[in-house]
């Protein structure tokens, strides 16, 4: 059956089962929409460093900004994350937090009221750690009042109200902190280093996205003046003793069972490990992604797509199995298993093509409305096409296996025993006449 008549039969059969096919097309379209957006977003972030597509690219992530920050801001090193978790790692000359939006601090679990970050120098009420790093950051107000600058050494005293003992320690000023309503800025290293950073070629705009998310998608075209538009150099912090803040302790950061990253406990427990890449080469960035949080989140997203793929595969299986009687009728009329398999493959090609085109149009419309790029990376398209081929072949194989059953009477009654094993037995051994006969029993 190789003529136009066959094509017509495919079309008529498709129409007869159109409700199921429309559902399949819809699921394929939505899956492609999500997949293409995800692909465009990942590609965009990876190659251009811009997170413009992020706020439609990862609807799931909108409510998990810490993931988004992890994704989009390589500048936040493990040290930053360690600091974010309340681990004090202040090092002279090492910039950790450059500019931290309040939203990000919140998302990261940074307690802006953490005594050691902000009020250490309030000697009347402050908390003086007995161990740990000997560097501290001071507030900009205190720096101005005391005429202090980075590198100065200060003696801090504190009277323990429980024991009535006075404790004193000498600290080196390693940073100056300024905080306003929306932003906290902790510059370890002081104004000189900030000015040095300003000379660097590029800084990212992760905070813009966070700000959009937090403020109901308000678009901010330009960053606030204090944001330094420079890319931070990757600075590997030396292994350094640290202590765990009460906040981190409360959250179990110092749990020895917890994963660590570069010797530093992950503040996000086992959810996401920090993203670290600072190389100019995209290849290096990808390699870094493989090791870090992007891989974790990609794994989650991949799992999500696998689940959708499984749902689609089962839908196709049901669509084909639902046609058992008609498949039996076709077989009685002389259609071979190959022809029946081809008929269902052809129908699924229609579904896959229609679903993909619909999904693509939806993607373009959404991207244009939101003023986003419409480029879908080649890898996304290749993987998608592969999935569609697998889906189409799967449907054809189910129909082939179904019609290959020699007991056509059961087909006509609609109660055929489906040979599941044959679905995966793609290299069947040659069957002799006796075995063939016993197959029919």
């Amino acid at each position: 059956m190789r003529d136009r008549w066959f094509n017509r039969m495919v079309y008529r059969e498709w129409l007869a089962n159109r409700t199921a096919h429309v559902i399949v097309i819809g699921v394929i379209a939505l899956t492609f929409l999500m997949y293409s957006i995800y692909g465009a977003w990942a590609d965009d972030d990876l190659t251009t460093g811009q997170a413009r597509t992020l706020n439609i690219g990862a609807p799931l992530l909108v409510y998990y900004p810490e993931w988004a920050v992890q994704f989009s801001r390589p500048e936040f090193s493990p040290d930053d994350v360690a600091d974010a978790a309340g681990v004090s790692r202040m090092r002279p000359g090492v910039v950790t937090h450059l500019v931290t939006p309040a939203g990000v601090a919140d998302a990261w679990g940074i307690d802006l009221q953490d005594t050691r970050l902000l009020t250490t120098f309030d000697t009347e009420e402050g908390f003086l750690p007995e161990s740990g790093a000997n560097e501290v950051a001071i507030s900009s107000a205190l720096a101005a009042d005391g005429n202090l600058t980075v590198g100065d050494e200060i003696l801090l005293s504190h009277t323990d109200t429980d024991s009535a003992q006075q404790r004193s320690r000498v600290f080196t000023v390693s940073g100056v902190i300024s905080v306003d309503d929306a932003w906290s800025r902790l510059v370890l290293g002081g104004d000189d280093q900030l000015a040095e950073l300003a000379q660097l070629p590029r800084f990212n705009a992760a905070w813009i996205w966070t700000e959009r998310t937090r403020r109901g998608r308000q678009v901010m075209d330009a960053p606030p003046a204090e944001v330094v538009t420079a890319e931070l150099p990757r600075v590997r912090a030396p292994a350094y003793p640290y202590e765990v803040s009460p906040l981190a302790e409360k959250e179990g950061v110092n749990n020895p069972q917890m994963q660590t990253f570069g010797g530093v406990p992950s503040p996000f427990l086992n959810r996401v490990t920090p993203v670290v890449w600072h190389s100019d080469a995209v290849r290096d960035q990808v390699a870094a992604m493989g090791r870090t949080g992007v891989a974790s989140v990609s794994g989650l997203v991949t799992l999500m797509f696998l689940m959708v793929a499984l749902a689609l595969t089962l839908t196709v299986l049901i669509v084909v199995l639902d046609r058992q009687r008609i498949i039996g009728t076709y077989a009685v009329l002389g259609m071979s298993s190959e022809d029946i398999g081809r008929m269902f493959r052809s129908q699924l090609i229609i579904d896959a093509a229609a679903g993909t085109v619909t999904g693509f149009l939806l993607f373009v419309v959404i991207a244009l409305v939101r003023g986003l790029g419409t480029a879908i990376p080649a890898l996304t398209i290749i993987l998608w096409l592969l999935f569609q081929v697998v889906l189409v072949c799967w449907g054809g194989r189910v129909a082939w296996v179904l019609s290959g059953d020699r007991d056509l009477r059961s087909h006509l009654r609609g109660d055929s025993n489906f040979d599941w094993w044959k679905l995966i037995d793609i290299f069947p051994r040659p069957v002799g006449p006796e075995e063939r006969r016993s197959e029919g029993q």
């Binding site: 009685v332 002389g334 020699r406 056509l408 029919g440």
Partner: protein, 246 residues
């Protein structure tokens, strides 16, 4: 019974048995049945419900395989054929008529008849259309060609099924209770049509029925009971003998 590979017999069942495994145990639906059908014969297989007549017909039409024994169509053992060869056989050598018609719901009467003709590569597409139209006329449904099965009466649907079974001029037409779902008038019309096929075109017909009136239309009657052939008689000879006696 020895099998005869000559083409004297268009269809043969040699010691054919069919067993089913059910939760209640093994059911022996057909037990060592032997049957030889010559070309142009009109055979009725009759028996009470559960006697195995539909199972026997299904095995004769390669819709299911016998547990034991062999079925030969024009000398070819159906059990030794590959599924593609069986498909070819169903296209060109066998025609089926079912009690439930089994028309393709989303195809019109014309398209249902045209469907099996689609396999016939020896014919041009135009010829196939012409033949489908001729067959529709033959069963008296020329004016119903664009109707879908749901728009046709039971009798009309069965006539479409007959035309469809005839499409590729098969060696044998197997009919399973062709009048079972029809009223008496429609049933008579269908049997008239089948009888006409047999007499005019010498079409070999095997009809399964539990209706004595239907069975009496045949030239040969095979009586099945409890999966076994109880009686196999030539109704034409019987009728002649009865006339002689009178």
């Amino acid at each position: 019974m020895t099998k005869d590979k000559s083409t004297d017999f268009v269809l043969q069942a040699c010691d054919v048995s069919k067993h089913y495994r059910t939760t209640a145990g093994e059911v022996r639906a057909v037990k060592e049945v032997n049957l030889r059908i010559r070309e142009g014969e009109f055979v009725a297989i009759m028996g009470p419900s559960g006697s195995g007549k539909t199972t026997l017909l299904s095995m004769l039409g390669a819709l299911e395989s016998p547990t034991e024994g062999e079925v030969l169509l024009q000398g070819r053992d159906l059990g030794r054929l590959r599924s593609r060869e069986l498909a070819m056989l169903r296209r060109f050598q066998l025609g089926f008529i079912f009690q439930s018609f089994y028309l393709v719901d989303h195809l019109t009467a014309f398209e249902n008849i045209r469907f099996p003709l689609g396999f016939n590569v020896k014919m041009e597409p135009g010829e196939r259309d012409d033949r489908a139209v001729r067959l529709l006329g033959m069963v008296g449904l020329a004016d119903r060609s664009d109707h879908f099965p749901r728009q046709l009466s039971g009798g009309e649907q069965q006539r479409v099924a007959i035309a469809r079974a005839m499409a590729n001029e098969p060696a044998v037409i197997l009919a399973d209770e062709p009048t079972g779902n029809l009223d008496q008038r429609s049933g008579n019309e269908i049997m008239d049509a089948l009888e006409d096929l047999n007499q005019r075109l010498k079409q070999t017909l095997v009809v399964v029925t539990h209706d004595e009136q239907v069975a009496r239309r045949a030239r040969r009657l095979v009586l099945l009971e409890d999966g076994q052939v109880m009686e196999d008689r030539d109704l034409v000879t019987d009728a002649a003998d009865m006339n002689m006696e009178r």
